[in-house]
Structures are given as C-alpha cells and as structure tokens.
Symmetry: C2
Subunit: 336 residues, 2 copies
C-alpha cells in the first residue's frame, strides 16, 4: 500500500504490533490458536505497512518454494507453430494463479540442454513439482524424472510401464467418433493419416481401427499413411493417398488435416463431396479453414487445469497413489 523505504521483516511487524515474530508468522499462515484480538491487531499492522513476506525466506524455512515447473522437451521446434501450448499454458496459469503457485517454464532447445538442466531441476530445491508434456514416445526425460522423488504429472500419456500420474484426453474415443462419423456418412473407402511418434498418435490410430472393426469395414493398407502432426506432413501424406482413391480421410491432427485439405483442393477435388475430412484437436484455424474443418475437440485448457490440481494435491500429500485423469472429447461437426 504505502511505499516502503526499506524492506520490512517479520520482526518489524512484530515490534509494531507488540508481539513476537512467531506470532506474526502464525497469523500470516492462518494458524488456529490465536486470540482474535491479537490476530486483528497484527493484521492491521500488516495492511497498514503493506508488508509482504519474503518468499525466498519462507521457502528456505519451510522447504517448499511454491514453484512448479512446466517442462516442454525439445521437440518444441516442431510445435512452435502450434497454439496447443498457448492453451495449455493458459489453463495452467489460471489454476496456479488461483492456488498461489508460481509457474516456472523449462523449455529445452536441444537434447543436451535437456540433460543439463534436468539435473538442476531435480537437485536444487527450487521447484516443488513438475508438469511435463509427454510429446514423444522416446523421451529420456521421462526416465530421469521417475528416478527422482520430485512429484510430477504428465500431460499426455507417456510411454512407460510403471504407473504414474497423468492427465490425458480420450484419444481412442475421439478417433473412434471420427471414424464412426465418416462411416455414418456412408463412406466406405476410409483412409487415415496417422502418426506414430507419440502415444496420442498411437491411441488415435487404435480408436480408428476399433471403429472399423466394430462396423465390419475393411481398410486397404495403402490407405494408412504417416505424418508427423505438421501441416507439411499432412500435405505430403495426402498425396500418397490419392492413388488409393479414398472417399474419407481421418487425420490424427488438425494441422495434418489442414495440409491434406490443401492437397485435396490443389488436386481439384471437393471437400466433402469427393473426400470427407476429419481432423483432431479443434485448433482455432480449423474453424476458419475453407471449408471449416470437422474435427474432434479436445479440452486443452482443462488439461492444464487438471494437471495443476492433481500436482497440487500431490504436493499437499493429499494423494498417495498415481492417478490418471482422462478428459472427454467431442465431435465438432463442420463442413468437411
């Protein structure tokens, strides 16, 4: 409130309120056993002086920094054009702000940096817990983190056998919905642009196949092609698909769907008349595409929210066993 000439300390506040430093600490931390009259007096001084406790000192004494780290491994480069992270960060910060946590960002630009910085993450006591984006299947960071006793939550399902905590979206179900939608449209020459770099890609492929099985539809192996979630890869993948004359394509990501869309348009074909197209993600640009892209919406911000909440519970010891949270997805019908 008032401009402070000098940094105030607990002792200063105590002196002003006529109590000991310990008592001030207690009212700040909402301890139960304090005379209401004393509590009030101390609080008055705190407000009047505009005192704010030194977080670093609090951290040292309590062995808890209140800082959690968001780790984005070095695959970022490929992902830099993807608003996914902005939404995730948005959800995360919303929640950290609400529960008084601080968010520190760990973005690695090389394998080397990843290894280097990991050590300082685990050992320096700066960070209470970690939210880690499970981008690739082969993520060395995954192995590192589970060997230490720092609490962590993955966003996305990592590729490991041991049970750990993560939040994820219903990828299998989403892909199932996509395929089912195409089938219900009467299409029978289904194709998929998949991606096997990450578990999300695997799960989406699985859901797609499941739907085909359930509806007793065969898929020509030629109609299964691969991309890497990028627009360019979707474009290229679609080229490979043309000779197989598909009448419906499911792309495991919106970016790939957008790439495919471009290839289809350039081939002089009409969406959805000649080829129906379904993506996965529901990025903002998908709604703006021409024609607007039918896709599977995943609640990215909720992913962030749930991740922080889960981690926070772990930090407060409220939770013992690893827990998995799967968020629902939905089919967004548009013109493709």
């Amino acid at each position: 409130m008032n401009k402070q000439t000098k940094k105030l300390t607990l002792d200063d506040i105590g002196a002003l309120a006529g109590v000991s430093r310990a008592t001030v600490s207690r009212v700040i931390n909402d301890y139960p056993h304090i005379t209401p009259e004393v509590r009030e007096r101390v609080q008055k001084v705190i407000v009047e002086t505009g005192y704010k406790p030194n977080k670093i000192a609090q951290s040292l004494a309590s062995n808890r920094s209140g800082i959690i780290g968001l780790v984005i491994p070095h695959a970022v480069q490929t992902i830099l054009t993807n608003p996914y992270f902005l939404h995730l960060i948005n959800g995360i910060t919303q929640t950290t702000n609400a529960c008084g946590l601080n968010l520190s960002l760990f973005l690695f630009h090389s394998m080397n940096e990843e290894v280097q910085m990991a050590r300082s993450l685990f050992y320096t006591n700066l960070i209470d817990g970690l939210i880690i984006t499970a981008d690739r299947k082969e993520n060395p960071f995954v192995k590192q983190v589970i060997q230490h006793d720092i609490p962590f939550v993955f966003v996305g399902r990592p590729q490991i056998k041991v049970p750990i905590s993560y939040v994820n979206v219903a990828n299998v179900m989403g892909a199932y919905l996509a395929a089912e939608h195409l089938i219900n449209l009467g299409r029978r020459r289904l194709a998929i642009i998949m991606c096997d770099h990450n578990t999300a890609g695997d799960d989406r492929y699985k859901g797609f196949r499941q739907a085909l099985d359930d509806y007793h539809i065969e898929i020509d192996p030629q109609r299964i092609v691969r991309g890497d979630f990028s627009l360019e890869s979707g474009y290229v993948a679609m080229q490979q698909l043309f000779p197989t004359v598909p009448d419906a394509v499911f792309a495991a990501s919106d970016m790939m769907a957008l790439g495919a869309q471009r290839a289809i348009r350039q081939a002089g074909l009409i969406i959805p008349d000649d080829i129906a197209l379904v993506g996965f993600d529901d990025l903002p640009q998908s709604a703006l595409a021409e024609p607007p892209l039918t896709t599977i919406r995943q609640p990215i911000e909720d992913l962030g929210i749930e991740a922080v909440n889960l981690l926070n519970e772990m930090l407060c010891q409220k939770i013992g066993l690893p827990r998995q949270i799967i968020l629902p997805v939905e089919l967004v019908l548009r013109a493709s």
Copy 2:
C-alpha cells in the same frame, strides 16, 4: 551422479574435502583466490557426490533469486491464437537457459488478477527482474511497475513519457517499406487496415503515412479503416474498404491481412491483380496462405533474446540508464 540418500550441504562437501564451507562456496562461485590444488580437490568431491547447491538458500543469502518473470497482461485472451508468444518465449528461454536464469510466467486472466498479483511480484523478493509485454496502450501494469525499483524491460514500446528500457522492432520503418513496396508496384489507390489499440499499430500507421508523404501520394480518408489485429476484424475491415475500390491494402498485422484476404477472395477479386496485399509479422501461416502473403518480417525470437540480455545486464549493474533496442524488420516478397 550418484543417487543421494540425503540432501548434501556445503558443510558436508567441506568436510569431505577437508576444507571449510566458505571455501567450497568460493569454488562453486568461481572466486579468484583459491589454490589450484584445493579447488581441484573440492571439485572432485562435488562431482563424485553429485552435489548441487540449494538455490533457495543461495537466493536468501545473496538476495538474488536468479528468477526473472515474463508478464503477459490479460489481453492475452485475444492473442491466444497468435504464435507470436510462442516465438517470444522461445527466444527468451533460449537466453535464460544460456545465462543460468530461471523464467517464471505471469499470465493474467483478468484486470483483478493483474492488480492482485502485481503486488506479490514487487514485494516478495521472488523475482529479480521483469520482462513485460506492452500489449495495449492503456496498461495499468506499466504505471505500477515503474513506481517500484524492480528492474524491468518492456517488449514493445509502452505508451509513457518517462524513459524506460525496452526492445522493439522497427515498426515505423516496416510499414514504410510495405507502403513503398505497394507504391513501387504502381499502385496509387492505397488503403490501410490499421489498429490504434497499441503503440505498434500507431507506429505502423505512422510509417505508412510517412511513405505516402514522401512519394506525394494522397490517401482517401475512406481508405483508412480500423481493426484489432484479429483475423475477424481484418475481414470486417476489408468489407468496409470495398466501396472505395482500393488497388493495394496494407494490413498492420498478418492476422488482419489473412482476414482481408478471405474477404477479397469471397468478393471474387484476385490477389494481387485486383488488390495487392501486404501484412506485418510474417507468421508461419502467412507463408502457407493462398496466395502466400507478402509481409514485413519481424524477428520475434530476437526480441526475446535481446530482452533477456538487456535485463540481465541491468541485474548485473552493468547498466545505468534506460536503454532502447530497436530490431530491424524486412520486407518478405511473396505472391500477394
């Protein structure tokens, strides 16, 4: 290296190396006057034990946390689909990683949150310095931060009279280049989709006008319309422009240019034959647009890099007076 059963402290290392805690601290912090033999012995122990100093304790003792904050005021919501921030963050983390700083993210979701959290930013000793994105002209955070003695650097030019440190791109020059390009193309019925919500918009408008003046070209006031940097606003703005029959449009942001592009296409006009279009930003999607968008490229990552470097210098007291860094932009010729 080895799995630590218990957290090691400076004293432990000292005991193992047969020196005092102070000496260990000195070798960790690269102090000059230490016998090579002692330094080596201590370093050996550090490596063998895998000791990492407790950053919180270091911070408390040195009154320096090594954490800098990136503040993104609450206008973000409108900007969340904009990869600008991803690039900025990329540049920033690249540099913080390199110079051993930690990056903490402060993303506000409401005016209220902004005010609330500002206090804890300034007073809790957690953060050494701030990088602030100057999004809007009326940013209350700006006033708050300059009233405190926390070091800060703005990204983008804030709207205030007092001299402060910031990094920015040559907006005026960029817009000048854009207009000049259109003029050199032989166009004379120039129009602009501007934005007066932020200083970047102001500066770009200024550069545009400057070019018109220099080339003695009149502009019909009807051909000056406003948007808010979003695709939708560019689309709407372009509609307003059609009656004035422009043969060239400069949009103050790529997103608006993309919106305008859509409007032009839907009006059945050809880019660039009927209307030439130039944007500003060089977003990834601009290169992928159809036709690919001619635009002004701004080095967003460099903005982040320079911001961190500047702030770091301020933190190390290497710098006294506020400094401004203006990064160059370039015209990217594409098909529009």
